[in-house]
């Protein structure tokens, strides 16, 4: 497939590996922010091509993983209502809430539907005027435009039986929270290319300058990731601190103007809770007052007692999401916690670090116990 396979070339990967081996003189710790990159790194064994001094730590960039358990409980409560058709992306279906998940609600007779595109929920709403259609709008900046377009069109079409349960999060504030944490060991970032394709790169200059960390906007294929690591290591070795763009084929410095305008029309910036991390200021999106009629939290209020939304105590996914630990350091990994019966969200989503390690590294992590 064009613009995909050519970026998986093994020969090119070996060239990057030997270049990195030559230019690296000291140990460096680099965080890849996005779960899609984590998945590719573990799947293609990119971390194993690097000189031993370079450590990749996995960031919080999996929207499924960071959706708060209280929000999952709220989704479950709404999905159980007999008048509701609940629509969700597939990867939210098995995320454990406190005592159930959406798939189980469906098995118990709830009308829960997996959709590919948010706009599909509008067609379901138009075809079922006597039902309430609720869409679970999770995601980062990458997903926000499609979610925004759904509610924008619902308002224009006067679809009164449509609403959204919004759990949108923003990446740069999470990077800032990671850098501010006392135990932070991140010296450079690979920023998430698809987020930047929407939002552009201007948010990263102040972060790089304030914390003295190079930030390289990076794509998702093996050669992209190796190129991004190389650019980051070159900055670190030369003592430069800059925002650079590896993913030039898709990311313009200003992002996508129309997408940004659409987001500004529909959403406003609010504080958000991140599963496993806690509340991060100005790190989420919520519907603007003009769209509050479409807010599922208002339409179906007070369904959940947030004090009763409890995380399983074994799970260390919070530390994993902040790059403090690796999945193989979790005592439950591969034992009490597997993709079939996940304890935490990082085991559910295919982009969660625990699921990626389980899928591609399970045999070896069992054998060596220190994993990566």
């Amino acid at each position: 497939m064009k613009y995909l396979d050519e970026y998986r070339d093994a020969e090119g990967a070996r060239k990057f590996a030997s270049l990195l081996a030559r230019i690296t003189t000291r140990p460096w710790t680099i965080m890849e922010v996005c779960g899609g990159q984590t998945h590719a790194i573990v799947r293609f064994g990119i971390d194993e091509l690097l000189p031993s001094g370079i450590t990749l730590v996995h960031g919080p960039g999996c929207p499924v993983c960071v959706t708060p358990i209280e929000m999952v409980d709220r989704a479950i409560a709404i999905a159980r209502r007999p008048e509701v058709i609940f629509c969700s992306f597939g990867d939210m279906m098995r995320v454990p809430g406190t005592c159930s998940d959406l798939l189980r609600v469906k098995a118990e007779g709830g009308d829960v539907r997996m959709i590919y595109a948010p706009i599909d929920a509008l067609e379901i709403a138009a075809r079922n005027p006597d039902k309430q259609i609720v869409f679970f709008a999770v995601g980062f900046e990458t997903t926000a435009p499609a979610n925004a377009l759904a509610v924008y069109q619902a308002r224009r079409r006067g679809l009164r039986n449509f609403s959204m349960l919004v759990s949108q999060v923003l990446v740069p504030p999470a990077m800032q929270a990671i850098l501010e944490a006392p135990r932070c060991r991140v010296q450079g970032f690979l920023a998430a290319g698809h987020v930047c394709a929407v939002m552009g790169i201007d948010a990263y200059g102040p972060l790089a300058a304030r914390f003295g960390v190079p930030i390289v906007v990076t794509g998702f294929e093996p050669l992209d990731i190796l190129h991004g690591i190389t650019m980051c290591v070159q900055q670190l070795e030369e003592g430069r601190v800059e925002v650079e763009n590896q993913y030039v084929r898709a990311v313009r410095p200003e992002g996508n103007r129309r997408a940004r305008d659409l987001l500004a029309e529909v959403f406003c910036v609010v504080p958000r809770e991140w599963r496993g991390i806690g509340e991060i200021p100005l790190s989420g999106l919520s519907l603007r007052p003009e769209y509050s009629d479409f807010d599922a939290e208002r339409r179906f209020p007070a369904e959940v007692d947030s004090r009763r939304s409890i995380e399983p105590s074994l799970c260390i996914s919070g530390e994993i999401l902040q790059g403090l630990k690796k999945p193989s350091e979790c005592p439950a990994f591969g034992r009490q916690c597997t993709p079939e019966s996940p304890l935490g969200a990082t085991m559910v989503s295919s982009e969660g670090a625990c699921a990626a390690y389980y899928r591609y590294r399970h045999v070896r992590t069992e054998a060596t116990t220190d994993g990566a």
Binding site: M1, K2, Y3, L4, E6, Y7, G12, R14, K15, F16, A17, S18, L19, R22, C34, G35, G36, G61, C62, P63, V64, F89, D91, Y116, A117, P118, I119, D120, V138, G139, F140, T142, T143, P145, A146, L149, Y152, Q153, R156, A192, H194, V195, A197, V198, F220, L223, D224, H227, Q246, V248, R249, A250, V251, R252, N256, R258, A259, L262, S349, E351
Partner: protein
């Protein structure tokens, strides 16, 4: 879930500005996609698609940068 995949625009249906859609070919799998955010992208152009929405066009010249970089590497980096 932030996976976005490159595909080639096969045709375009211009509705009003927010209803612009088209069929996009992902290496043989064809899907109907919103083209509302890429108003200038026409037939034959590659776009990056996520949850049914094209987020940006793929620059043909820029797509070569990684390979150009690899080509100019010094001989000692070529294993």
């Amino acid at each position: 879930m932030c996976l976005a995949i490159p595909g080639k625009i096969l045709d375009v249906r211009d509705g009003d500005e927010w209803q612009r859609t088209g069929r996009v070919d992902f290496g043989g799998v064809v899907k109907e996609v919103s083209l509302a955010l890429v108003p200038d992208a026409g037939v034959g152009v590659y776009v990056l698609v996520h949850v049914g929405m094209a987020l940006s066009t793929i620059g043909e010249a820029e797509a070569q940068e990684v390979f150009a970089y690899l080509r100019q590497l010094e001989p000692e980096d070529v294993p």
